[in-house]
Amino acid sequence: MQKVTGELLINKALELLDNGTVNRVLGWKRGEFAYDMTPAVFADAEELKNNFVFNDFCGANFSKYLIAETRKEGKVLVFLKPCDSYSFNQLLTEHRFDREKVYAVGIPCEGMVDISKVKKAAGDGILDIVCENDGLVVKTLYDTDKVIDCKEVLAERCVSCKSRKCVAYDELLGENGDVLDSSRFDEVEKLEKMTEDERYAFWQNELSRCIRCNACRDVCPACTCEKCVFDNPDSGVENKAVSDSFEEKMFHIIRAFHVAGRCTDCGECSRVCPQHIPLHLLNRKFIKDINEFYGDYQAGAEVGSRAPLVNYTVDDLEPSEAVQKGDADNA
């Protein structure tokens, strides 16, 4: 389904390695299964040619990797999908890496596939998946090959894609898209329309599945603290395991608050959650509230913008009005 092919990216990477612009490439390679494309650093042409992949499973956002990568010698090539480019800008705004040490190639993205949806459609025992045109050819243990339309199994974050525009790059492959009029707040609105009790029940159900694996934090391009408060005994909230129902909520509230105004809504947290907790609904609540209370703000849309939580106007909403406004059930 992707408009740019892995081959095109490999050629671009080879060219940039060859002419010395960069000395390594951040890209995806095949993991254990056909659908777990894993971030990898490629240092030579051979590796690139053999292992570099780009297909409908390459959801991983590379921006966060640049913090560590730019501390090494030489320049690194990174491929940025539109989502990733927002995170890229946000990290630059926060001075988290040296722009000079990155060569960014913007690539269009047609949306990534959610493997759990594929599994649901194709059944268990997936042996291999081949991405062809607009479809996925799924080979399973039990059945004949199944062809699935990519559009049917798009990840939630891609169905409600906010932007197909790469906002940061040195060079662009293919054509740049537009900021979209997305339906990403629909789910949040649905929750807002519930009663307090229903919302409590909903989140109790979702969050009680949390196993505190920290995957959401570890993948989040906004969670790049030198030392995370949850790992810091001095912070007062240090905690590595869930012991009761409060802990789950506390962890997720604090995490969402920490990235409020900085979260670009890339959706990585929900993608990596092994328990399928819709974590993006927490982040999107903050984004929606921020947009409604303080005017539209898209983190990472431009470098150097002032995040809403480190900003104010003298006639901002009062917290009581805000809560009223954010609670459609009572509005």
Binding site: E196, V237, F246, M250, A260, L282, F286, Y312, V323, G326
Partner: protein, 145 residues
């Protein structure tokens, strides 16, 4: 917390040093009663209150948390309460989104001259929280007696 069958909620009030703490003092000077379940913690400015403190209070068994600061525009540090206003607007909205009753959280601007407002606010807030009953939705069971 049960006293003679009467339920008394625990209220934690964060008061900024310059306006609201002085407002609470004034309520005392004028002998204006408010419930004893209100316990005040002094902070230099309402903007010192980290959302984590609010959550911590709930975790440890508070039934309601209220922040008091100078009126917008009167902050001793010029802009502190403006940040408080944004932070708490978002935090409280989020708590409500998770199903926490919105009556349990509040921000009120109380100046050093508003002793009466301080007492009235505390009476009103305590009553509202008492009406909800114990805070079961955000509480760390380990910390319960």
């Amino acid at each position: 917390m049960q006293v003679k069958g009467e339920y008394k909620p625990l209220i934690v009030a964060f008061c900024c040093n310059w306006c609201s703490y002085a407002g609470a003092d004034l309520a005392g000077n004028n002998r204006l009663n408010y419930p004893d379940n209100v316990k005040i913690i002094k902070v230099p400015c309402s903007c010192r209150v980290n959302p984590m403190f609010v959550l911590r209070a709930f975790q440890r068994g508070a039934d309601g948390v209220i922040l008091c600061g100078c009126h917008p525009g009167d902050c001793h540090y010029t802009s502190g309460n403006y940040y408080t206003r944004r932070r708490m607007a978002l935090l409280f909205s989020m708590l409500n989104y998770l199903g926490i009753e919105k009556e349990r959280t509040r921000v009120e601007w109380v100046s050093a001259a508003e002793g009466a407002k301080f007492a009235a606010t505390m009476n009103e807030f305590t009553e509202a929280v008492a009406a909800l009953g114990e805070n079961k939705r955000l509480e760390d069971l380990r910390c319960k007696k």
